[in-house]
Chain length 226, copies 2
């Protein structure tokens, strides 16, 4: 059965796609960003990445409308900008670049925060990347999103806050979680579950998205409880 | 046909539920917060509200786990805390309090940012409130979410960025938008549309959620394009 570990600060992702959402602040996404040798930046994220990390992106994708002239001048050979493609978002352009370079294990950073419709879109696109065979996860300042299909085991710690979003699974149940799973219809129904031990298992027919949060229970703070 | 206006800085909401997500910073949500005479705070949001606005919440709901002792001491008569109810999230507790007080038009603020699973849950709960007959909208620093059902008209401005999330509508099409609508399956598919004039119409059989963003196109910045 597939086993999904938790990120650690010693992970070295094969490839990172850095979006222009909130720039990572938490130690876990920052470690992946610092250690990864293959960072593809979405448009304006290239400015943050080069300024804050003093690093050079492998590639800069997007339509260029938020990229500084400085970055354009500094990284002329790294620009893969396509202002004409309005059908594909920058995150997906970054993932496609990685795949074209033979990188099939991809960590997505900087994809949430700011406009909520971008956040929702970027999160839900993880399901599409999984469908294309990409081994993908999204690490934020608050947790990690992992798309999955069928039965899978997830590393966690006791009382870790877990949310599951159903993307068409017709059967869903869990082991090692405080609340039962079912084929939820609405997003909120699978939120704020809690792990009981150091791993939990999801049994599913179909696809779903798992979110594991770093912090200990603070559910009520802006809380979505089941 | 139902007409959904854009928020203005002179709106005075009948009731506000202030969540403990990112505290409002943009002029539009802040104006609603400042002008509303009936502000229900979710747990720790009461501290921010009283400290930043020098105001007194009508009520403080939640399980109290993030509320300061100062606030508990300061507003003993405003506390409606229920640590035992783990099935309902704080935003919903706030909405229920408003309904119990006869307030059926509710503006939700401070509901996004921080943990992404909370953000997803809080946004999707708007559909449940609409089902219960609440006239509800969620105003963030980046835009406004409005749940709707059937045909509706939405105020906008030319080139305003619009996203539509399908919550079970079997027929969907639009007028006054740059890209066609259809009964989308995945969240990202309805994101990053654009208004062509000062209003757009959604024709639907079923329910959906509309997001109108304040800013002019910056789609590629953390972009979800169609």
């Amino acid at each position: 059965m597939k086993y999904f570990t938790l990120p650690t600060t010693s992970d070295t992702p094969e490839a990172v796609v850095l979006g222009a959402g909130n720039y990572p602040q938490h130690a876990l996404p920052l470690a992946s960003l610092h250690r990864c040798p293959f960072v593809v930046c979405c448009d304006g994220a290239a400015d943050d990445y080069s300024n804050r990390q003093g690093a050079t992106p492998i590639a800069i994708v997007g339509d260029g409308d938020s990229l500084s002239e400085t970055a354009r001048t500094r990284f002329p050979d790294r620009l893969f900008l396509d202002p004409t493609d309005q059908e594909t978002n920058d995150q997906t352009k970054g993932v496609r670049y990685c795949l074209a370079q033979g990188k099939t294990s991809i960590t997505i950073l900087g994809a949430t925060g700011k406009r909520e419709d971008h956040t929702l879109g970027n999160i839900s696109l993880l399901m599409e990347y999984m469908n294309q065979g990409v081994d993908v996860r999204m690490i934020t300042d608050y947790g990690v999103f992992t798309p999955a299909s069928g039965d899978a085991t997830f590393q966690c710690y006791p009382r870790m806050q877990v949310s599951l979003f159903n993307f068409g699974a017709i059967h869903l149940h869990g082991e090692g979680l405080s609340y039962p799973l079912r084929p939820f219809n609405n997003w909120w129904q699978g939120t704020l579950n809690e792990a009981t031990g150091d791993q939990f298992v999801v049994h599913a027919t179909g696809k779903y998205l798992v979110y594991r949060a770093w912090d200990y229970p603070t559910a009520s703070r802006n809380g979505t409880k089941r």
